[in-house]
């Protein structure tokens, strides 16, 4: 009897270990993302993916609906091609738009999907056409400096090109253009 209870207790011990391992792997690590729920794949091209990483969450209205599976550079357009999988239970219209957003000030970046209004839904391997790149701090600062310079320029007698805010899009376009 004593022998039996020892064996039972060791069995409990080992089972506890297996349970804890399952908890660590499924709840506290990324194993769950390898299998389980059915998903479909959606692609999107971004001018700049910023700090987006593989396995980053895909969210809609802040709710996690999927995951980024791969990030590559599109050789033809020189854009970042982001492939993500979205849970099959969640369907988005074909004219939905994708943005790269940041959680918190210094937090992780994720893909946010804003649903459109089309009747047709995105199918497997579809491309999300409307995208908005990640905000790159250097470009923002460059834009700010350009605006300041434009302000100073418009105060001076030299001909300033239009109102002070107008050059801003041109500045960001120039900045992103020079990056390529």
């Amino acid at each position: 009897m004593a022998k039996k209870s020892t064996e039972t207790l060791v069995g409990v011990f080992v089972l506890l270990g297996i349970l804890a391992l399952a908890f660590l792997a499924l709840k506290a690590a990324n194993l769950a993302s390898f299998s389980g729920a059915k998903t479909y794949t959606v692609r999107a091209r971004f001018d700049n993916i910023g700090g987006l990483k593989k396995n980053a969450p895909v969210r809609s209205a802040g709710v996690s609906v999927g995951q980024v599976t791969s990030i590559t550079l599109d050789k033809n357009t020189y854009q970042g091609l982001v492939i993500m999988k979205i849970n099959e239970g969640v369907q988005f219209p074909v004219d939905s738009s994708a943005k790269i957003l940041t959680a918190g000030l210094l937090g992780d970046q994720y893909v946010g999907i804003e649903p459109g209004s089309d009747d047709k839904n995105l199918a497997n391997n579809d491309l999300i056409k409307q995208t908005q790149s990640a905000v790159v701090l250097e470009n923002l600062i460059g834009q700010l400096i350009f605006n300041k310079a434009a302000d100073a320029g418009s105060a001076a007698p030299t001909p300033a090109p239009g109102p002070s805010l107008a050059p801003a899009p041109a500045a960001s376009a120039a900045a992103s253009g020079s990056k390529k």
Binding site: F23, L31, G104
Partner: protein
């Protein structure tokens, strides 16, 4: 002058003798451990004594460390607006470092000392010699099952330590402080890799299991067969296995996580 040279020579010789003893002991252990599988009942009994009986201290310590880590990290992360990353920080520090290392240190104190004292007293009571007289090799009857049990128990204890620590952190962060639970888990899931983090943690704790149990058995087996000798051996078990675990942890960490 001659005395100094003499002392240096003596120390060196003693050190090398001890190293040789330890090496032969390690080879013996490695050779006799497979035979312990045939004495499975003994191994189960030892897992009960070494592993199951250590559960209380491991779980209590893991839970406390998880809670404290969550609280401290929360104060550190809030100024950066990154309180959701709390789960990730706690998870990585537990799974990669604290789980294996603290478990090994506690294991050395809880189970290692018991092993040393038990085998030392067996030797002092000449039970080991009696076994040899009965043509039972004490290395395969006494040492090997304990060694195997230690190697099996340590990873299980380390996993439990990490798991209960994360539960503790969840309790403090989500239930008490009010960190968003979805972010708490999802950031963890997106950044913690099963093979790289959890897997390497388990490999680490298995190595520590070999170190701690090996040191404890060696100290017990080589002890002087007197009460003071056993007391001394027990102390050395804790000191040596703790230092060896800390040194080995640094080497393993440098090897495992250098590229990430």
């Amino acid at each position: 002058m001659i005395g100094l040279v003499n002392a240096i020579g003596q120390t060196t010789l003693r050190a090398f003798t001890a190293l040789g003893h330890a090496t032969y002991f390690a080879i013996d252990l490695a050779r006799y451990t497979p035979s312990a599988i045939r004495r499975f009942g003994l191994v189960v009994g030892q897992i009960h004594a070494i592993g199951y009986r250590s559960l209380t201290i491991i779980l209590a310590s893991g839970f406390a460390v998880g809670c404290v880590l969550a609280l401290q990290m929360y104060y550190a992360l809030v100024p950066f607006g990154a309180a959701e990353s709390l789960g990730l920080v706690v998870n990585l520090s537990l799974v990669r470092e604290l789980g294996p290392v603290v478990t090994a240190l506690l294991f050395a104190g809880r189970a290692g000392t018991a092993l040393t004292a038990e085998i030392g007293l067996m030797k002092a009571g000449e039970q080991l010699s009696a076994m040899e007289l009965m043509a039972v090799d004490p290395r395969s009857r006494v040492l090997a099952p304990r060694f195997l049990a230690g190697i099996v128990s340590m990873p299980i204890l380390a996993i439990l330590y990490s798991a209960i620590g994360i539960v503790g952190a969840w309790l403090i962060a989500v239930q008490l402080i009010g960190v968003d639970p979805a972010n708490f888990w999802s950031i963890m899931q997106s950044r913690v890799d099963v093979m790289r983090d959890v897997g390497n943690g388990i490999v680490k704790s298995a190595v520590f299991g070999v170190i701690c149990t090996g040191v404890a058995l060696y100290q017990g087996y080589e002890t002087q067969a007197t009460p003071e000798g056993v007391a001394y051996a027990t102390t050395r078990t804790v000191v040596f296995s703790s230092l060896a675990v800390l040194a080995m942890d640094f080497i393993l960490t440098a090897m495992m996580f250098s590229t990430s």
